[in-house]
């Protein structure tokens, strides 16, 4: 059973936009929109142009459409999309394009939308839970505050974990797995953007390289080990890798 929804794009999207329900709500629908657009473009050009041109066209178009859709959508919502985030959503678009080109969707738009809707729904559900635990709010409105709430729940650590849990839950519901998905595509860009710790002893470029390289190397090491782990079918691959990235961030954020 092929995975119709773009799991890698959703994984990166969840890491980027899961601290608040409003962002999750908007980001989810924009990822679905980009996936459909990428699939449509691929089907449109597939027979008319050579493979190399098709790949370039789909990547460029889905990346720019995704970035533009996020920019406009978030501006309407009144949320600031920084340049770094804008680049990241461009990468989300590239991942949507990659999924379309992989042929997993097979022009099955109905299944693509259905599976994506499950991801979107769970993305929002888990985000509501995180937002509440982090700030006592839902959709930006304070419900109630209590001592057990901590803004640590809004950190990247829990964003990675949420991505892993959402994908595993969807796989469980749809009885599918993330076979053939490469977790490096969503994880590495996220690690470039979000740093789990800071280095005071050497600032500037060496410090930045260090704070990016350490989590990536640790992740590669854990990913290698996880290949031999007996994880459940629905967790195997991308979901468990995202959970591992979360735990790596949790450990590194101590320093």
């Amino acid at each position: 059973m092929k995975l119709r929804y773009p799991a890698e794009a959703f994984a990166l999207g969840i890491v980027l936009f899961s601290a608040g329900m409003k962002e999750a709500f908007a980001a989810g629908i924009l990822v679905i929109f980009t996936s459909v657009f990428a699939e449509l473009l691929k089907n449109l050009l597939e027979k008319a142009v050579p493979t190399w041109s098709l790949k370039f066209c789909v990547y460029i178009a889905s990346g720019s459409v995704c970035a533009s859709a996020f920019l406009t959508g978030f501006a309407v919502l009144g949320t600031v999309l920084t340049t770094e985030l804008w680049i990241m959503v461009f990468i989300v678009g590239l991942l949507c394009g990659k999924h379309a080109l992989s042929g997993n969707t097979d022009s099955e738009y109905g299944e693509l939308l259905l599976e994506s809707a499950f991801v979107w729904g769970l993305w929002i559900l888990f985000t509501v839970f995180r937002e509440f635990l982090g700030s006592g709010s839902i959709f930006g409105n304070t419900v109630f505050t209590a001592s057990f709430q901590s803004k640590a729940f809004l950190n990247t650590t829990f964003a990675f974990m949420e991505a892993g849990l959402v994908l595993a839950s969807v796989n469980g519901i749809l009885k599918k797995d993330c076979k053939g998905m490469n977790s490096l595509f969503p994880v590495v860009p996220a690690m470039f953007l979000f740093h789990p710790f800071t280095v005071e002893s050497f600032a500037g470029l060496p410090g930045t390289v260090w704070v990016i390289a350490v989590p990536i190397l640790l992740f590669l090491s854990v990913k290698q080990t996880l290949k031999f782990a007996r994880t459940g079918r629905f967790f195997r691959g991308l979901p468990v890798d995202m959970l591992a990235a979360g735990f790596i961030y949790m450990i590194l954020s101590i320093y």
Binding site: A19, G20, L41, L45, A48, V49, P50, W52, S53, L54, F56, C57, I60, A61, G63, S64, V65, A67, S68, A69, L71, T72, F74, A75, V76, G78, T79, V80, L81, E131, G134, S135, G136, S137, G140, N141, T142, T145, S147, Q149, S150, K151, A152, L154
Partner: protein, 465 residues
């Protein structure tokens, strides 16, 4: 084959061109959708001199008013804002956050339209609920602090009467916090002490500091830990004289404490003075008064936000309060006591119902024959009656009115006479020009920083004008 290659190149060129078009189009759409403030559309006609103006980065006169770029210190880092004013330099026409690094999902909301739209078309200065816009207050308080410190010597060796004493600041500080210090004296010695600060919405600084919403340093003690360390040191020393402070109100007498301790010293000294009999605890105006027999009723003039009108009834027989009741009634006649019994008005999952709490209060009043036992905190809550967790200010006010009627004594009159300055101050606050702005929930520091920056821009323009 060659034809397909040409088509491929053409398709790539078209897609790339369209992609650039889409990106450029979306950028202009984004600006018109989210960043349509006057700050962006205004064209500078004349640059204003900002040399010597602290935190003001740039200022200019525009075709429709003024535009000021101000930098202010936020919770995480600096916040840079463009603040646009109309030609009178007093009405804000738009605010845009140019740069900020506040906490995602909390402080970062200062850059969102929901917060910034509050400033459009309002009169400056702006302030948050409970925030004091007059800088004079702070300086006056700072000047008063040394005098308080000098008074501490009179507490040395004073014998303290057993009881629980509480003191709190009269007005919230610039962040909206009211400091509260509570001391418990047993067998003439201080056995318990606590220091906390509460906002108008009931948020406690101790809990906020535990949750990381109110941080002092990256790796030092939290505010709560520092407040507890101070309280423990006071219990250990049984005196405030060990707390030597510098010009900023900081002390090196307690390890790990880096916050300003003047507030704690002032309030703890007030508690100790009460315990030593040097400062009168709130006196009972009805002490010794003869109550005329009869039934007295008092109710609030207007319903509260939930539509309830509070009613307190007291019955006096043989000069003593024999019956008391407190209830609240809606316009359609529904009683809060009955609603709470039926589960339609619940306070807590497992605590007493509203009716039971109201009855407990009424019984305590009959038992004590006075209201003086009802000490309240900043939220109007009391620990004087077991199981009562509701705000009792309404009950106290109405019961006081009943007692005034029964005794013929106007309890509130002397207070008004004794505190003309306070009255004048409150009148001044009422007259104060400016606009109240809602803070972002859970991000008081970032909201305050934004408001402060806007007021600095306003102050700068007033000096230029």
């Amino acid at each position: 084959m060659k034809n397909k290659e040409v088509k491929g190149i053409l398709a790539l060129v078209v897609v790339t061109a369209l992609s650039f078009g889409v990106i450029i189009g979306s950028k202009s759409l984004a600006i018109s959708a989210g960043g349509d403030s006057a700050a962006q559309s205004a064209e500078a006609l004349e640059e204003l001199d900002v040399s010597g103006a602290e935190n003001i980065e740039k200022a200019s006169k525009t075709s429709d008013g003024y535009l000021v770029t101000v930098r202010t210190k936020g919770y995480v880092g600096d916040i840079v804002m463009d603040v646009a004013f109309d030609e009178s330099a007093s009405k804000i026409t738009g605010v845009q956050v140019v740069e900020q690094s506040e906490t995602d999902g909390l402080g970062s909301k200062i850059a969102e339209a929901e917060f910034l739209d509050q400033f459009k078309g309002v009169e400056a200065p702006v302030y948050l609920p409970g925030m004091d816009v007059s800088a004079e207050t702070d300086s006056a308080e700072e000047e008063a602090a040394p005098e308080e410190a000098e008074d501490l010597s009179i507490l040395e060796g004073a014998s303290l009467a057993d009881g629980t004493y509480e003191a709190k600041t009269e007005a919230p500080d610039s962040n909206g916090f009211i400091d509260v210090v509570t001391l418990t004296v047993k067998d003439g010695a201080i056995t318990e002490a606590s220091w906390d600060a509460v906002t108008e919405d009931g948020s406690k600084k101790s809990i906020m500091s535990e949750n990381g919403e109110y941080t002092m340093t990256e790796d030092g003690l939290t505010w709560k830990e520092q407040a507890e360390a101070l309280a423990s040191a006071l219990i250990e020393n049984q005196s405030l004289s060990f707390l030597n402070t510098d010009a900023e109100g900081k002390t090196d007498a307690v390890s790990g404490v880096s916050i300003s301790v003047n507030g704690f010293i002032d309030l703890a000294a007030q508690c100790m003075k009460q315990a030593a009999g040097l400062e009168d605890a709130p006196a009972d105006p009805f002490a010794g008064a003869t109550l005329t027999d009869g039934t007295y009723e008092a109710k609030t003039e207007a319903p509260d936000s939930n539509g309830f009108t509070d009613v307190v009834t007291l019955t006096v027989k043989d000069g003593a309060i024999t019956e008391a009741s407190w209830d609240a009634v809606t316009e359609d006649g529904s009683k809060k006591s009955i609603m709470s019994e039926n589960g339609e008005y619940t306070m807590t999952e497992d605590g007493l119902t509203w009716k039971e709490q109201a009855e407990a209060l009424a019984s305590a009043l009959i038992e004590n024959q006075s209201l003086s036992f009802l000490n309240t905190d900043a939220e109007g809550k009391t620990d004087a009656v077991s199981g009562v967790s509701i705000s009792v200010n309404g009950f106290i006010d109405l019961a006081t009115r009943c007692l005034e009627e029964a005794s013929g004594i106007q309890a509130s009159q002397p207070e008004a006479e004794e505190a003309p300055e306070e009255e004048a101050a409150s009148e001044e606050t009422a007259d104060m020009t400016g606009t109240e702005i809602d803070a972002i929930s859970g991000a008081t520091m970032s909201s305050t920083a934004a408001v402060t920056g806007i007021n600095e821009a306003y102050d700068f323009l007033q000096t230029v004008k």
